[in-house]
Symmetry: C2
Subunit: 206 residues, 2 copies
């Protein structure tokens, strides 16, 4: 259970409490959006160090907005890396810190909900935390936090996306429509699928 | 519907059939695991070009192995980028091509199933394709293909993971156990959550 971090140049040596030995971390590339690291690490219970390329990203939020009628609000967003326009739950990155506190995470969720969909919580509505997930734990530390926003209604101001976003449309779907879109490979993003799985396992779907 | 690709140095100009204009792609970083690109793109229906950082990765496969008793086989794998050991469906990258054909995708799924779990299809068992998803469509083109392997049984040889993998354990869970692990934030990876969502929406769960 010892913890002995020290650093010299790009070198470091840390034994984490749960048995990970971090031998070395080098930055290979960095810009405002991602950081690419080369790490030398011994996983718990192993004898040998492994060299691994890791992409660091900010944490994120994903929100399932449900109306008083039990409808689900999705946005239709152009996604440059895959050259597609996808129907998705609203989502966004958390600015300011790589390890944000729960207040910041919840504030970001409420802001992204309103900006991206033009809906917000009704009086007495709840923003319910459903844990988090890793989008691609084999090479990235990206970690979106999952929320159910119940219930929501239109603000009347429409959606006001950030300048960097390409949201073409926003509309309500019934639970049955969403379920069919998932079955038919129309819903294709990890955010919406992971949050649907959490909602389904927690029996929170209409 | 015109398609006019041309290249000079890092420049390129393409109008895709569905309205994407690709103005320029520059490679910022590349190693055997990832490629980081800076792209200048006009999404469909927009007037203005956007500058975007994109991480290219190989495609992947994820397999939900179900036994004749209706149990689900998971592996317990150490994941360096997040310093955690997670219970997950078996999965792996597709080598050889960034745009593999369905034969290669299915072969990779069957190989990863056997290597990582020590289970394989029973005589007459099926490998059922359930579409694909994008792990983080805001910055990456990574696209895992989803399969149900029904039914599977132990090969008797145990799991024989690749040298680069850190699989500590492999065992069967009931559907109820898996569902509880998803509800309780024990299952934390996009692969397992996305495949559970697809199985659930297609009513393929026990």
């Amino acid at each position: 259970m010892l913890r002995r971090p020290w650093k010299r140049g790009t070198q470091c040596f840390v034994n984490t409490p749960d048995g990970w030995q971090i031998l070395e971390i080098n930055t290979l590339f960095k810009n405002p959006h991602i950081q690419v690291l080369q790490e030398r690490v011994v996983p718990p219970g192993e004898a040998r160090a492994r060299n691994w390329t890791v992409v660091r990203r900010k944490q994120a939020v994903v929100i399932a907005p449900v109306t008083e009628n039990g409808n689900i609000v999705l946005i239709h967003q152009a996604r440059i890396p895959i050259r597609k326009v996808l129907w998705e739950f609203p989502a966004g990155q958390i600015d300011g810190s790589f390890e944000p506190g729960m207040d910041t995470i919840r504030e970001t969720a409420l802001r992204e909900l309103t900006e991206e969909t033009g809906f917000s919580l009704v009086a007495g509505g709840e923003l319910i935390y459903l844990g988090y997930y890793y989008s691609s734990q084999g090479y990235s530390d990206e970690m979106p936090h999952l929320f159910l926003a119940r219930h929501v209604k239109p603000t009347g101001l429409g959606h006001q996306p950030d300048d960097s976003e390409s949201i073409l449309e926003c509309r309500e779907f019934s639970f049955q429509e969403l379920s069919t879109m998932i079955a038919d490979n129309v819903i294709q993003d990890a955010n919406t699928l992971a949050l649907f799985a959490r909602l389904s396992a927690k029996k929170l779907l209409p």
